[in-house]
C-alpha cells in the first residue's frame, strides 16, 4: 500500500522527529479574513513544522463551534477551494510543508484527480479528509500518491487494535491521533484518552504520531509529547483569529507552543 517513497510532508516530519524535535502543526481556516495568507506566513515563520489549512465546507460534521464559525465566515467572505489553493501557491512559507484539511465532498465535486493535481501544483504536500476513513480511502489515495501528496489518516480512542494496524498501514505524512471522543474544540482539561491513543498509535506505527482535537495550551502539548511526536493546534488558534487577532497574534500563540515544547524537550 505504501510502496512509494514518503512525500515531502512525511519526509520533513520524520527527519525532525528523528532529530529529537517535537512537531508542531497549527491549523487555520483558508479564507478566514482578508489577511489570512499573511497569517499563514507568520505562523510558518513562528516555528510550525507544517501548517494545516482548512478549506471550508457547508456541513463540517466533525467540527465544533469554533471551526464551524470560521467555516461560515470564510464561506461568507467568498472562500472557494480554488481561491484558497491559489493563495497557497503564492504564499511564502519558507518551505514549511502545507497540509490541506477538507471534507470529502469538496474533493468529490472537483474530482479526485483534478483536486490532487491542483493541490500538488500549488505546493501542498498532504491532505486530511476527516470523513474519508481508511476503508474508503483507496481511490483518493491512488490519485494523491500519483500527485506526490501524503494522506494523513485519523485514529480514534475507539479504534480497535487490529483496525489501528490497518489504518497505520494506509496512512502517510503522519498519523493523526484524535485525542478525545468529540468534535474539534478547546478543552481546559487534557483527556486521558489523548495519551492512551498516542501510545497505541506509537506502538502500531513508525509514522510521526501527532495528537489533535482538544489541544489548547502549551502545557497540554508538553504532556502529550511525552508520548506523542507532536500536536495539532486548531481551535485555540482559530479562536484568536475569530476574535480579531491577525498575523502577530497568531505568530505569538504558535511561538509560545514552539518555545515551551523546545524547552521541555531540549536535546542540548
Amino acid at each position: 500500500m505504501t510502496e512509494r517513497p514518503p512525500g515531502r510532508l512525511e519526509a520533513v516530519l520524520r527527519a525532525r522527529r528523528d532529530n529529537g524535535q517535537k512537531l508542531l502543526v497549527p491549523y487555520l481556516m483558508g479564507g478566514l479574513g482578508e489577511e489570512w495568507p499573511a497569517v499563514l506566513e507568520a505562523v510558518a515563520a513562528a516555528g510550525a513544522d507544517a501548517v494545516e489549512v482548512g478549506i471550508a465546507f457547508s456541513d463540517p460534521m466533525i467540527d465544533g463551534q469554533t471551526i464551524q464559525e470560521a467555516s461560515v465566515r470564510a464561506l461568507a467572505g467568498g472562500a472557494t477551494p480554488e481561491r484558497v489553493v491559489a493563495s497557497l501557491a503564492s504564499a511564502d512559507v519558507g518551505g514549511t510543508p502545507l497540509v490541506v484539511m477538507t471534507y470529502y465532498n469538496i474533493i468529490a465535486r472537483a474530482g479526485e484527480h483534478r483536486m490532487a493535481q491542483s493541490l500538488a501544483e500549488s505546493g501542498v504536500s498532504g491532505a486530511i479528509v476527516p470523513d474519508l476513513p481508511a476503508d474508503e480511502i483507496d481511490s483518493w489515495q491512488a490519485e494523491a500518491f500519483a500527485a506526490g501528496l501524503d494522506t494523513v489518516l485519523l485514529a480514534a480512542p475507539t479504534t480497535p487494535d487490529a483496525r489501528l494496524k490497518m489504518i497505520a498501514g494506509k496512512a502517510s505524512g503522519f498519523l493523526y491521533a484524535v485525542g478525545v471522543m468529540g468534535v474539534t474544540g478547546e478543552r481546559t482539561k487534557l483527556a486521558e484518552s489523548a495519551l492512551e491513543i498516542a501510545r497505541r498509535c506509537k506502538e502500531a506505527s513508525d509514522l510521526p504520531v501527532l495528537v489533535g482535537v482538544g489541544v489548547t495550551t502549551p502545557e497540554q502539548a508538553v504532556t502529550i509529547c511525552r508520548v506523542a511526536d507532536g500536536v495539532v493546534v486548531g481551535s485555540a488558534l482559530v479562536r484568536r483569529l475569530l476574535d480579531g487577532e491577525g498575523p502577530d497574534g497568531a505568530a505569538e500563540l504558535v511561538g509560545s507552543f514552539r518555545k515551551v515544547l523546545d524547552a521541555a524537550f531540549s536535546t542540548a
Binding site: 465546507f57 457547508s58 456541513d59 463540517p60 460534521m61 466533525i62 465544533g64 464551524q68 461560515v72 464561506l75 472557494t80 477551494p81 480554488e82 470529502y104 465532498n105 469538496i106 474533493i107 468529490a108 465535486r109 472537483a110 476527516p130 470523513d131 474519508l132 476513513p133 481508511a134 476503508d135 474508503e136 489518516l153 485519523l154 485514529a155 480514534a156 480512542p157 475507539t158 479504534t159 480497535p160 483496525r163 489504518i167 484524535v178 471522543m181 468529540g182 468534535v183
Partner: protein, 392 residues
Amino acid sequence: MTALGDLMREPSPSGRFGEYGGRFVPESLVPACQELERAFRLAWADPSFRGELDHLLRTYGGRPTPVTECHRLSEELGLRILLKREDLNHTGSHKLNNVIGQALLARRMGKSRLVAETGAGQHGVATATAAALFGMECTVYMGAVDVARQELNVFRMNLLGATVRPVESGSKTLKDAINETLRDWVATVETTHYCLGSVMGPHPYPFLVRELQRVVGEEARSQCRQVLGDADPDIVVACVGGGSNAAGTFAGFVDSGARLVGVEAAGGAAMGHGIPGVVHGMRSKFLQDEEGQILEAESISAGLDYPGIGPEHAQLGDAGRAEYGQASDEEVLAAFRLLARTEGILPALEPCHGLAWIVREAGRSIPRGSAVLLTMSGRGDKDVALVLEHSR
C-alpha cells in the same frame, strides 16, 4: 449496473447500493457503525428479537395499519386509489416502525440514551416515545426554523421527557440537525445510540431503516391483493425526503410489476436536480453548488426539507426501477384540501406530495382506471396551523 432482481436486497460488504451508500464518517464513528451493523444482523436473524418487535408494533403501535380504498377521491380522479394508512400508527406516522426497532436494538447493545435528528418533528416525537417506553434518556436535535414552525411537536417531545435542542447553524433545518446529532454522537457513543430517522447516513443505517420499514410494503402488498382480487396495484406512490416510507413501501413491491414512484418536494428534489456527492456519511445525490457546498432545500413541509436522498433511492432511480417526480407547495396544499374534503382524512403535508403528483398525472402518465397505492405516511394534525396560515 445492478440487475433488477438484486434490487432492495443486501447492500455490498462496504454498504453500497450500486455506486451509492458507503460509510463516510470520521474514524471516531466507524467502530460504532460497525458495532451497530453486527448487532443489527444478529438481532434481525434472532426470532426472539423479531417476535418482540412484532409484538410491540401490534400491541403498542397499532399494526397492522389498514389499506383504505378511497371511493369518492377515486371517482373524482378517475382512478382506483388505495391508501396505506401509516397515519394510523401510534404517534401518527410510519416513523414509529423504525424507532421501536432501533430502541430495541439500542437496549440490546446496552445503550441507555437515544439521540435523534428531526425535521417536521415526527421522527423526534417517535424517538421520544420509544425512549419513554424503554426508560431511556433522549435528546432530539431540531433546526431552529423547524422548531418555530412545528411548535406543537416540540411540546409533545418535552411532554414525553425528551430534551429538544434547537440547532442554529447553517440553514437551521434538517440537514443541520443531522450534523449536530452526529456531533453529539461522536462525544457520547459509548452510552448513546443514534436513532437515525430515514434511509440515509452511513452504512448500516440505509439498510437497517429500510428493513425496519419493510413491514409497510409487505403488509400493503397482501392487503392490496385482497382489495384488488389477487392483483398488485398498477402504480405505487410514496413521498420522499430521505425516503424511509418510500423505501419501506417499495421493498414490498420491488419484485412486482407495479410502477414505483417517489415524489419529492420541488424545493428539495435531490433526485430531480441533485448531483452525486458525499455528505452525512453516504454517497448519494445532493443539491450542491459548483464547489460542492450543500444547498438549502426549501419546502412547506419540514419533513421533506432535505437536500439529499437515501442512497438506495439513487440506485433505484439510476436502475430505472423507480422514478422520482416532484410536487410544488401549491399543489401540495390543494391535495391536502382534496383528501380532507373527499375522504375525511387530514393528511400530513409530506404524503400530500404523493397525492399531488397523482392528481397531476391522472389521465396523463397514469391511465384512467389504474389502481394506485399511496402510502399515507403521516397524519396532518401537526400541519393544520400551517395550512390555516397559507389559506389567509
